[in-house]
Symmetry: C2
């Protein structure tokens, strides 16, 4: 069974922090786009304000025209992206689909978001550890809530006999792990990627595994 609910994907709430995919008209948009790429390539800690300034052909002090601090820059990317995933998940869970259909939708929307913001997703996966004291706990807390929602959804599917009776923690961690690597494909690939084909293959892997018959 393979169902694609495209209508929902185009209805995803739009949050305006897509500095990469948007046309870089204003200097501010270009600042965030270049910063985002730099942080992805070098890592947050290894990316200095001088690196960013140099990339934009101006001096270090000018960086502070756009942001208050280096950490605020990271927070902007991470929490913006986290909001997007949460809003998308909540919309799916609030629908009347059954657990299996909902899980299909989760996979589908996850791929959709990743395809639109692969660099932000890379930061979400790799750089969240660099958040500072109050923001870090907030981030971890929200991520835990996200994972809990997936756990509950999976458990409903087990109770429903739509999913195999697998340990909920292991299943959830594995499903999310199967989705979290995908940003690499969108960033590294030289050719245009067909997200529908990705969705088909990843869905097959998550729901039916690699074994034939």
């Amino acid at each position: 069974m393979l169902i694609v609910f495209k209508y929902l994907l185009t209805d995803l709430p739009f949050i305006d922090f897509s500095f990469v995919t948007m046309k870089k008209n204003t200097k501010k948009e270009r600042f965030f786009a270049e910063s985002l790429k730099l942080i992805h390539e070098k890592g947050f800690k290894a990316t200095t304000m001088r690196d960013i300034a140099s990339k934009l052909n101006f001096e270090v002090a000018n960086v502070y025209n756009y942001i208050d601090s280096k950490n605020a820059l990271l927070e902007t990317f991470l929490f913006g992206m986290q909001d997007e995933f949460h809003d998308s998940l909540d919309e799916i869970l609030d629908s009347s689909y059954d657990p299996k259909e909902k899980m299909h939708l989760v996979v589908s929307s996850y791929i959709q978001i990743t395809s639109k913001r692969p660099y932000e997703q890379a930061l979400l996966v790799n750089e969240w550890r660099n958040l500072k004291a109050p923001k870090l706990q907030e981030f971890i807390q929200r991520r835990k809530e996200y994972e809990n929602k997936i756990k509950i959804l999976f458990q409903e599917g087990v109770d429903n006999n739509q999913f195999e009776n697998i340990d909920v923690e292991i299943a959830t961690a594995t499903i999310l792990a199967a989705l979290r690597w995908l940003y690499k494909k969108y960033i590294d690939s030289t050719i245009k990627i067909n997200s529908l084909e990705i969705e088909k293959q990843l869905t097959r892997l998550i729901f039916n595994g690699i074994s034939s018959n």
Copy 2:
């Protein structure tokens, strides 16, 4: 089908860099064990030589009794761990099992190594980006070779009609992603973990997915 080849797991080549699981008799062993944990918890860049010295209750200069540089410390952990995974994989691939049996063995040995060295595995997954110029390329090259071997193995299984005809890149990335998160469970969990049960569940997820029937 669920086969566990335990004999092979106990035959894994032993590489003596297990600073965590070994009893910490000598000061050197304790130095590496505490450094490893610190780097995992704070991240490599955020962990200072002063942090390490403080943890071991001596002064910064003493750190250099054990290592030549901060980067050499990271290299020790990462390349030691990489060697272990490679040796284990090569031994499996050199056997006469069929592709599906070999893939079972890969999963099994991967879990085995992770369970023995969860902190080293955490560094292997999260901290390799901090390697410097010549070592970084070497690391990436070796990891690419590892992934290529898995790709080839999967393709053999497809040709063999044992695996579904899924895109090799996507399948390989997903299989490895399903294994790479596991170190967290061994580090975070308070209760003793049954690796055989983990193996059973993860194998089921990878080979048959979450769907029932």
